[in-house]
């Protein structure tokens, strides 16, 4: 019994340093969702229902530009597809849990909670079968992340209602994306993916229904794969 509480608290503690970085983003999301034109209730509902930082930023931006629902939902799908890797990665560790546990932990499976939970799962020794523990660690990390995200979002929304439109805070969306993308451009293929997606986005910017965004994103991904491909085959020959 005490092992559950220990694991839960250890999970919360492991998540804390990450939360220092997460809370400013929650606030920025709140502010920019309002400046994109979302009503405060809808901006907060998105944090609760979608609960995925980057998809919320992109979603708020697209809603603000009047993109059609199907384009917004499909873009959310592309942006969040990386979570399938997390889902695959934690699946073997959650095998013995009930469906209810697995449904709850899936909701909490953000980038940050995954990063913390998987380090615990990979740490040996695994708990003996039948003895609940590491899922409580995941739960602690996930709930800590969730609470801070909701709270910081609410603070951002409250701030956002006080900020006059003349401040051009909608630009924080573009700035956030720039600040996230640029440090991740560490090799030729990721640069190629970014630049080609940007060029295609410019060429297709006047297309209706924001379809250009989807075409540009897929072009970037394909170009990234093509540029990366030769190096992979060289690696295999050695």
């Amino acid at each position: 019994m005490p092992s559950r509480r220990c694991e839960f608290i250890a999970g919360v503690k492991a998540e804390l340093p990450i939360l220092l970085g997460v809370s400013p983003f929650g606030m920025i999301y709140g502010v920019l969702a309002l400046s994109a034109g979302l009503p405060a209730t809808m901006a907060f509902m998105m944090s609760f229902v979608v609960y995925a930082g980057s998809a919320q930023f992109v979603g708020a931006q697209l809603i603000g530009t009047g993109a059609p629902g199907i384009v917004i939902v499909f873009t959310t799908f592309i942006v969040n597809l990386r979570h399938i890797l997390y889902s695959a990665s934690v699946a073997p560790h959650l095998k013995r849990l009930t469906a209810r546990w697995r449904c709850l932990l899936a909701y909490l499976l953000t980038d940050e909670a995954y990063a913390v939970a998987i380090t615990r799962f990979n740490k040996e020794p695994a708990p003996p079968p039948g003895l609940p523990s590491t899922e409580w660690y995941f739960l602690g990390a996930g709930l800590a992340q969730w609470s801070v995200w909701q709270a910081s979002t609410a603070v951002g929304i409250a701030l956002g209602t006080q900020i006059p439109p003349g401040w051009a805070l909608d630009f924080t969306i573009a700035l956030t994306f720039i600040a996230l993308v640029v440090p991740a451009l560490t090799d030729r293929s990721s640069v190629a993916a970014a630049v080609s997606a940007g060029i295609v986005a410019m060429l297709t910017a006047s297309w209706p229904y924001k379809l250009g965004l989807i075409v540009a994103s897929i072009s970037g991904i394909v170009v990234g794969l093509l540029v990366e491909a030769p190096r992979v085959s060289i690696g295999r020959q050695q």
Binding site: L38, M42, M45, M46, V49, V50, Y51, A55, G59, I63, G66, G69, I72, V73, T76, F77, I78, V79, N80, R82, H83, I84, L85, S87, A88, V90, A91, P92, L94, K95, R102, A106, Y107, A168, F171, A174, L175, T176, I178, A179, L180, V181, V182, S190, V191, A193, A194, V195, A197, G198, I199, M202, I218, S219, G220, I221, G224, L225, E228, V232
Partner: protein, 111 residues
């Protein structure tokens, strides 16, 4: 933004369903299904591709008209933020200085 609260609510709920379905998918399949290697490789390019596809028009086509000149405050502020992010890898610093730069350029540059 030009849709009804109901439509907006439906969009957000659909975004939530899609996100949750992805997260739950392989957890429910209990690891019986693996992610294909090509998809694993492709996922790495999703953030740079999607985010750049949003950034480029925001900087180079503010308000719907292409503006590649030095009189475009968003282009200048965005480029500065990119340089700061590249040199320092500090996301918040890049956002704050980028925003300050935008306000400065908006005042300093003729419309």
């Amino acid at each position: 933004m030009n849709c009804t609260p109901l439509a907006l609510g439906l969009i957000i709920v659909s975004m939530g369903i899609v996100t949750y379905a992805i997260r739950l998918s392989l957890i429910m399949l209990l690891g019986r299904v693996e992610v294909p290697p090509l998809m694993q490789r492709a996922l790495r390019f999703v953030p740079p591709a999607v985010l750049s596809a949003i950034i480029f028009p925001e900087l180079l086509r503010p308000g719907g008209t292409v503006n590649l000149s030095l009189g475009n405050p968003r282009l200048l502020a965005g480029t500065l933020a990119a340089l700061i992010a590249w040199r320092t890898k500090n996301v918040l610093l890049a956002i704050i200085l980028g925003m300050l730069a935008l306000w400065m350029f908006q005042v300093a540059l003729p419309e």
